[in-house]
Amino acid sequence: MQAAIIIFPGSNREQDVFDALTRTSGKPPLKVWHRDSELPKADLLVIPGGFSYGDYLRCGAMAAHSPIMRAVKERAQRGTPVLGICNGFQILTEAGLLPGVLLTNKTLKFHCKNVNLRVETSQSIFTCRYEAGQVIEAPVAHHDGNYFADKKTLDRLEDQGLVAFRYCTPAGEVNEEGNANGSARNIAGIFNESKTVLGLMPHPEDATDPLLGKTDGQALFAGLVGALS
């Protein structure tokens, strides 16, 4: 599998996902600079975490209008899988590739900590190595990860099985206590309608190395490599 990572000025977790993908696929991803309007041939496009353009406007809003995002949208529409993590998720919503928006955390603070996530479906290239209902642990590190969409959109996401991950307690209960940032219906990650685009706030790439703690994120990358190789 050949992945390409889109790098904006202010991206800062590109190396984390680069390392995770290289470890899993054995093939270093390509790095694409935001000013490039041509995308290289790639099986997977990744938009990493960070603070694109400083996120001085709404998070991800500037990056969503960057020239490279036009190319990303075209590829996504033709079915190339896209993974947006943290700021990448924010950019995908701002670019209209995913519905909803990421608001400021309900505590109004940045939080960096491990959270529990319930995998909602194994029926996707991203989650095929997990079981539906499985509880995993991965870090979050964000100030604006509070997912919001109108009721109609939320209902549609649920009806079509497009919720990928939800924040939960260690026992897997989806409730207020397990909700890391106030997200609507505890949503931590969602797919587009064809389930080829995934946006999520937690950092699976930072849960892939046994030396650093839990490795529950590894299955996401292993699943992608398996599905796209």
């Binding site: 000025p9 202010g10 800062n12 977790r13 190396q15 984390d16 390392d19 995770a20 975490g49 960070g50 603070f51 353009y53 400083g54 996120d55 001085y56 603070k109 940045f110 939080h111 960096c112 900590k113 870090p139 590190a141 100030h143 950092h203 790439e205 930072d206 190395d209 030396l211 650093l212």
Partner: protein, 733 residues
């Protein structure tokens, strides 16, 4: 006449406003051979400020050991450089941003982080970790809550955005900081040991380049402000605080590192305190050369800025470079790619003079050498801090150990600081092996098995009681923290935070702390490679506790061999390494339980410190230690509780006969570790051969911490108590 170097009306009031004494002004006049104009006066003022010239501290800083087999570059450059093997160097420094953070906590703290990051990447290193050391006033003081919130948000706001993990730090509260909080920020970076960049200018005719953000009117005279006491008007000084832009800093890091991969740079220096003035003067001074700047070419973001304002602005995210001739275009392309300003603003000369031109006039013409070498140096009078009486255990009331433990775990200094460090991205870059909350952070080096262990520490209540012991203890405790995770301590950076040095008792604290630090550095082969001095931390004549913060860096060959403080499993033996006499003078127990802050602090036996630590490290690296924690604030029972809370595994322990129970559990004797092992007899025997005292304290297991003769407390309850205070405090209106 057009030459603005002509004498202007420099009244004694203007001189005083610039923080220069009459003698210092006379010295400036003698150097120039005439009266300086306002721009020149401003330059003298910042270059000779305490902040830039170290005029009160230089004499004593020379006492600190700065050499060692691993030292590549000691104090005097932007940061210290040590050899960490495999052709790599660690580059690090700690720096204060105390005065600005009190005036405007968010921006003050944020720009403190930005400034120290620049000191490190200026030398060619990619920053891999940030730490900090914070001191706030009493929690009851009306300003404290707002200052904590602002400082923490500022550190996070900057560090999180630039994408450098904030992996460790410390935070204490004491009324002596009510009017002068301390915000000390440390950055650690890694570079190719053969590609370190220095600041000495070279090559007359070489172009001088300005890169980064534009210059505005912010932060003018910050260095002078940071060199004076506060009075009631502290808030009115807000315009001297700079505003940070971490996004620009991130671009500047990437652009500088990209340029540094080639060979275009002759010298480079960040524009920190005193901005363009100190960077140009220091670069020229170190090279024994002159520098000419055309201020019309400096990128500015405000109209009609004067030479005075341009030279004294402390706008952030700016660097000054001297390039090899002919490499300008290559460098310009890199900075344009990152959308940063790039301007050729002058050249290096052989004249030895700083010449500034603007609008066709000469705005300043002054000799560089004397500006640096003839900076005032004071041998301030000092008095030795009076010795305090040693307290005996029977001088201190005994209370039930478990109720004392509960009170200590909830006190502001020992309460969990999770509320703080969860606001810092401590994981970005993907190499954080040990996260905040342990003895030291452990950060793996990219692409390697090895890791750096990092810590900041200081115990100001010891320093005020006995500066010599306190200075030695601060150094020793960082050495012990690094050892407790399995690392070999390499070197330190120091941040000397003190009151007004013009008072002999404050100067005595400074001198005492330096002497104690010196002894510890020598005994532990642990040199000082960089540092910063912050004096005048005083409001209306009341100084802070002397606070020489030590930032320690250690190396561990294989990150997988590091251990954490968490109890791992039931049924393991708990050993106490080191000698316990039950020293309660200046302890937290004495302050929090008995409400007293008297008595001599614990003595530091540096020979035992080294013996004990070296022996513990051998056991850890041999894989025979499952958990290890140093014994410090609060004493032994607090250490056990911290290990139980971290692991969610309980323990039972008993005090031996011979030492009164309260002194045994809460004494703060130095040079001690608690560790767990499955084979205590063999370990005790090996430690005994090394001359290291060790005794069995108890056994891990169960859900509770149990001490013979007292009630048990569950680990869940301990956690609840320890985690509750800070979030509740910050949530209160």
């Amino acid at each position: 006449m057009s030459g603005s170097t002509a004498a202007s009306n420099i009244s004694p009031e203007i001189v005083a406003q610039h923080g220069l004494t009459a003698d210092e002004f006379a010295r400036a006049v003698r150097i120039l051979g005439r009266t300086p104009n306002l721009t020149e006066l401003g330059i003298f003022s910042v270059m000779w400020s305490e902040h830039c010239s170290y005029k009160s501290s230089r004499k004593w800083l020379r006492r600190l050991p700065t050499a060692g087999p691993r030292v590549i570059c000691g104090p005097g450059e932007n940061a210290g450089v040590v050899d960490i093997g495999d052709g790599q160097a660690a580059i690090f420094k700690i720096e204060s941003h105390n005065h600005p953070s009190f005036i405007e906590p968010y921006q003050g703290a944020a720009t403190g982080v930005g400034g120290i990051l620049r000191d490190v990447f200026t030398m060619g290193a990619r920053p891999i970790a940030n730490l900090n050391a914070l001191r706030f006033g009493s929690p009851d003081h009306p300003k404290t809550r707002r200052l904590v919130a602002g400082v923490v948000a500022g550190i996070g706001g900057y560090g999180n955005c630039v994408g450098v993990p904030t992996v460790g730090g410390e935070c204490n509260f004491h009324p002596s900081y009510n009017g002068n909080i301390l915000v000390n920020a440390m950055t650690v970076g890694v570079a190719d040991a053969k590609r370190i960049f220095y600041s000495a200018a070279a090559g007359p005719g070489n172009p001088v380049i300005y890169v980064g953000a534009k210059t505005g009117r912010d932060g003018i005279h910050g260095a002078t402000m940071a060199s004076a006491e506060f009075n009631e008007d502290a808030d009115a000084k807000r315009p001297t605080v700079q505003v940070g832009d971490p996004f620009t800093e991130k671009l500047l890091i990437e652009a500088c590192l990209e340029l540094m991969a080639g060979d275009a740079i002759v010298a480079i220096q960040d524009m920190g305190a005193a901005g363009l003035t100190s960077s140009s003067v220091e670069m020229a001074g170190k090279g024994g050369l002159g520098i000419e700047l055309d201020l019309d070419r400096v990128p500015v973001r405000e109209e009609r800025m004067t030479p005075y304002e341009i030279m004294l602005s402390e706008s952030q995210e700016r660097m000054l470079m001297i390039l090899k001739p002919g490499s300008e275009d290559q460098a310009r392309r890199i900075f344009e790619k990152w959308e940063l300003d790039f301007a050729i603003i002058g050249r290096v000369t052989e004249t030895g003079k700083l010449i500034l031109r603007m609008h066709g006039d000469v705005a300043a013409d002054m000799p560089v050498g004397p500006l640096v070498t003839e900076a005032p140096l004071y041998d301030r009078p000092w008095t030795k801090t009076p010795r305090r009486a040693e307290l005996r255990p029977e001088d201190v009331p005994a209370v039930d150990p478990m109720s004392a433990l509960k009170k200590l775990l909830a006190c502001p200094d020992l309460a969990s600081k999770r509320w703080i460090w969860e606001q810092y991205d401590h994981l970005v870059m993907g190499h954080t092996v040990q996260r905040p909350g342990g003895d030291a952070a452990v950060v793996r080096l990219p692409g390697k098995r090895k890791a750096l262990a990092l810590v900041t520490d200081c115990t100001p209540r010891y320093c005020v009681a006995d500066p010599g012991r306190g200075g030695a203890q601060a150094v020793a405790e960082t050495w012990r923290n690094l050892t407790a995770v399995g690392a070999t301590p390499i070197a330190i950076t120091d941040n000397m935070n003190f009151g007004n040095p013009e008072r002999p008792e404050i100067m005595g604290q400074f001198v005492g702390c330096i002497e104690g630090m010196r002894e510890a550095c020598l005994a532990l082969d642990y040199p000082v490679v960089s540092g910063n001095v912050s004096l005048y931390n005083e409001t209306n004549g009341k100084g802070i506790l002397p606070t020489p913060v030590i930032g320690g860096v250690g190396l561990i060959d294989d990150a997988a061999k590091s251990v954490t403080l968490a109890f791992k499993r039931p049924g393991e033996a708990i050993l106490l390494v080191g000698e316990t006499r039950g020293h309660l003078g200046s302890s937290l127990y004495l302050r929090e339980i008995a409400g007293r802050e008297d008595g001599a602090p614990p003595p530091v036996d540096l020979g035992a410190e080294r013996r004990n630590g070296d022996a513990v490290r051998i056991e850890i690296l041999a894989g025979r230690v499952s958990a290890c924690h140093d014994v410090s604030d609060g004493g032994l029972l607090v250490a056990l509780a911290e290990m139980a809370m971290a692991g969610g595994v309980g323990a039972s322990a008993a005090a031996p006969a011979g030492v009164p129970a309260h002194a045994f559990w809460f004494g703060e004797d130095q040079g001690r570790y608690v560790l767990t092992t499955s084979d205590p007899e063999a370990m005790t025997a090996r430690l005994g051969v090394a001359g290291v005292p060790a005794r069995r304290l108890g056994t891990t297991g169960g859900d509770s911490l149990t001490v013979e003769g007292a009630d048990a407390i569950s680990t869940a309850e301990l956690r609840r108590i320890n985690e509750a205070w800070l979030p509740a405090y910050m949530a209160a209106p």
